[in-house]
Amino acid sequence: MLIKTILISLCLFVTSIQAAPKIQHWVTDNGVRIYFFPTHELPMMDFRVVFDAGAARDGEKHGLALLTNGLLAEGAANWNASEIAEQFEGVGATFSNSSHRDMAVLSLRSLTDPKLLNVATKAFSTVLTAPSFPQKAFDRERNRLLISLERQKQSPDSISNKAFYEALYEKHPYAHLATGDIDSVKSINVNDLKTFYKKYYVSQNAVVALVGDLTRKQAEALVDQIFKSMGSGVRAPKIAPVPTLSENKNVDIFFPSTQSHILLGQPGIKRGDNDYFPLYVANHVLGGSGLVSTLSDEIREKRGLAYSSYSYFVPMREKGPFIMGLQTKNESAGEALTVLREVLRKFVNNGPTQAELDAAKKNLVGGFALRIASNKKIVENLASIGFYQMPLDYLDTYIKNIESVTLDQVKNAFKRHINPDKMATVVVGDAKKTQKN
């Protein structure tokens, strides 16, 4: 689930290369915010609804948002789960849902042949507006979630992720995984889901991204059909700001693995932060551009310490994390952590060189066309633009925003946002084999 969140967050930097069709935006009578981008090359459409109903809304019952989202297609109106699935699958449509810290997502992909699309749309609307939350299905899904929580405990990667967010966010709602934990999940009952649904699955709290072979008129009719019976409700309130870490924090967790999984970071930035572009370009140099990044060069190319090493910002509603990570054999964990910290400290102190910055900008500008080259990518971008209330011309101004980033801005922004003396460090592995240094 974490991976999905990251992908959604990172894929947002997109634009329209075709000048003609701009993003069309409107708000329905009951408050749904629509972002529509027609594409007529393929007879298909992608419909994505995002509610401000992610794990940050869990309260004490961690896992509540995820279970609510997961139960929608387990029973709706008079249909059970099999009957719902038959509606979608019988016309070749795909329905999917997912739940993250900020967002709860429901997606429909369908052919646009009206005979097929109508069936899929009706089922999608029913799932969205008339879920029945059957007790039996709830018990089963909760049990399955408990098993997947058990499975997390056998993966050093999952263990490190969980510990990292807890260390970074402490009592903030971002501190827990969307999957919750075993005790909290056991405390949830089906009425909690119904209450959560009523409060957050309302049209005022919904953003729709729609891409595909539809006219504006068809798009409007589709949205109306899907949301017509949903209550309008109110938008979810703001969530609390994220406090900065007051000091360095180290979490060492023993796990009998051959590798140590290392994560290092601190709260980063919000969506819409003025420093977003300088930080994004800077991180591209540091650890965001795969093999050509500084981190990969130091960790992998020069020393052969890890297969994967990276850094990234996850801008969220409130400050999402800045994360650096790698995994290396236990014997190398000390060395790798030292290099990781040195690379960061040097980068904060000195910033990238002008040549490195120019190369990163060239990659981002030159690669822009790839970021919007499919309906799938466009719908992901629209969903983020809508959900995080980014400007409608975000895609059109993306290249200009990247190009205008200067070396001074980058150095300055990184220094202001990232403090190498107040980092959370998580190491999961077999410390007996780790050389301390």
Partner: protein, 469 residues
């Protein structure tokens, strides 16, 4: 169930999608706004095959070079060599020092990666369409001119071992799958993992790589696939310019090592630190490469779809929701392989059940589908999904290129995909029952089970201040 290793950076998500695209591969069925003849092929004098598919939806292009060599070409002692070589292909040529390939692609706004499978090794770049010549120049250069430096190899083999630790050693399900495959495949090259045994990696040297590179990286063993907003004739001219001058080599195909027919049930257990049990059941079946009747692999694909092609399919419906014996379950079959392929079931039992219960429940479903004809509704659903899937696949030029490349390097030919929908549509209820009866029997079954061992605990610490490792 890892059949391909994406390399360089961890593109795990991509990996999990590779086979969806393969299962629904189609290259030229007409769709609105498309003509049927948008795939073009040319073979250069040196034997290099170039396949171009025009897709003008966006001003971008994907360029891939596929070599007919993968882990199944290897043998004992050098397992994993195809994949290690793939890593070393980024370590420079006479003309471009280590790291420069990636830098040039990056500065041109490109994305690149490579992947190794059982039957192929492939490299790709995704670029704005005018930058295609950059891809061709660099790929043509490294087809013959890679410099395999000892010092680079020493570091990179460490990276590959870290990759193996990450993917397999510390992942109990992957460990189980590896042992399962080594049990289900006895004498073919599918016996060992793509990434190779750790001990073989530990003893690999730069000469192993040099031999492998000299043997397989020649134009007459390669296929270049380009999909995007490009004109075929321009691509062919560009290919002549960059790849044309490379002389053909002598390629000795490996000995066939056809997997022998299974004679009786096999079982393997893997004990590893874990919390949740896991089970794999694989039945030895045929693929398009070796089926007795042409329709059999398609019937097996539809059979997999009836069992598990969605939330309404039988496995999810009966085992997960109604009986609640499975916490998760999956069915997999890949028709597009050259040799005997496994029809796979994998899953985790629900609370209060164990892997034996799960196995029995799966067997019961197999018995039902072998004895009772599937319903029209189920067959219609699978066919609707396949037809829709072919449209959806066109949303990604990368997967379109993947389909072409995979079919070419597994020896089946890209044109086969043209007929995919028709072949699926032709499958009858009787044929589904026939393949279930013929292949899903104990004599062809291998079972692999993860037996979770207690994860030892130690005192963990949370420190503040300046404590460092």
């Amino acid at each position: 169930m890892e059949k391909v290793i994406m390399n360089r950076f961890a593109l795990i998500l991509l990996l999990s999608n590779l086979f969806i695209s393969l299962a629904y591969a189609d290259l030229s069925t007409p769709v609105t706004h498309y003509n049927a003849f948008n795939t073009h092929e040319k073979i250069l004098a040196n034997g290099l095959k170039v396949i171009v598919k025009v897709d003008k939806r966006a001003p971008v292009v994907v360029s891939q070079v596929w070599y007919k060599v993968g882990s199944s070409y290897e043998y004992d002692g050098i397992t994993g060599v195809s994949h290690v070589l793939e890593h070393m292909m980024f370590k420079g040529t006479k003309k471009h020092p280590p790291g420069e390939f990636s830098k040039i692609i990056a500065e041109n706004g490109g994305r690149e990666n490579a992947f190794t499978g059982r039957d192929y090794t492939a490299y790709f770049q995704q670029l704005e369409k005018r930058r295609l010549p950059i891809s061709f120049e660099l790929e043509a250069d490294r087809m013959r001119n890679v410099v395999l430096l000892e010092e680079e190899f020493k570091k990179e083999i460490q990276v590959v071992m870290e990759e193996r630790r990450m993917r397999t050693e510390d992942n109990p399900q992957a460990l189980t799958y590896e042992q399962f495959s080594a049990t289900a495949y006895v004498n073919s090259g599918y016996h060992w993992p793509i990434i190779g045994w750790m001990n073989d990696l530990e003893n690999m040297d730069v000469d192993d790589l040099a031999k492998w590179y000299q043997t397989w990286y020649v134009p007459n063993n390669a296929t270049v696939v380009v999909v995007g907003d490009i004109e075929p004739n321009e691509v062919f001219a560009l290919a002549e310019k960059h790849y044309g001058p490379i002389p053909a080599g002598k390629v000795n195909r490996p000995k066939p090592r056809i997997e022998r027919k299974q004679r009786g049930k096999r079982f393997v257990e893997v004990k590893a630190p874990a919390k949740v049990p896991y089970m794999l059941m694989g039945y030895q079946t045929a693929s398009i490469g070796d089926a007795e009747h042409d329709w059999e692999p398609y019937a097996l694909e539809v059979l997999a779809g009836v069992l598990d092609g969605g939330i309404s399919a039988r496995m999810e419906k009966h085992l997960v929701r109604e009986q609640q014996i499975a916490a998760s379950i999956g069915v997999g079959y890949d028709a597009f392989t050259p040799g005997k392929e496994l029809f796979m079931f994998s899953g985790t039992p629900a609370n209060n059940y164990d892997v034996k219960d799960l196995e029995n429940a799966i067997r019961k479903q197999i018995k039902i589908i072998s004895e009772t004809m599937v319903e029209d509704k189920e067959l219609d659903r699978v066919k609707a999904q396949v037809i829709a899937g072919k449209v959806y696949e066109k949303d990604s030029i990368f997967y379109q290129a993947m389909s072409i490349g995979t079919l070419e390097t597994t020896g089946l030919g890209w044109r086969l995909a043209e007929k995919y929908v028709d072949n699926i549509k032709k499958v009858t209820k009787e044929q589904i029952q026939t393949v279930a009866k013929k292949y899903l029997i104990d004599d062809y079954l291998t079972i692999g089970v993860l037996n979770p061992q207690v994860i030892q605990q130690a005192n963990n610490s949370v420190g503040g201040g300046s404590h460092a490792h």
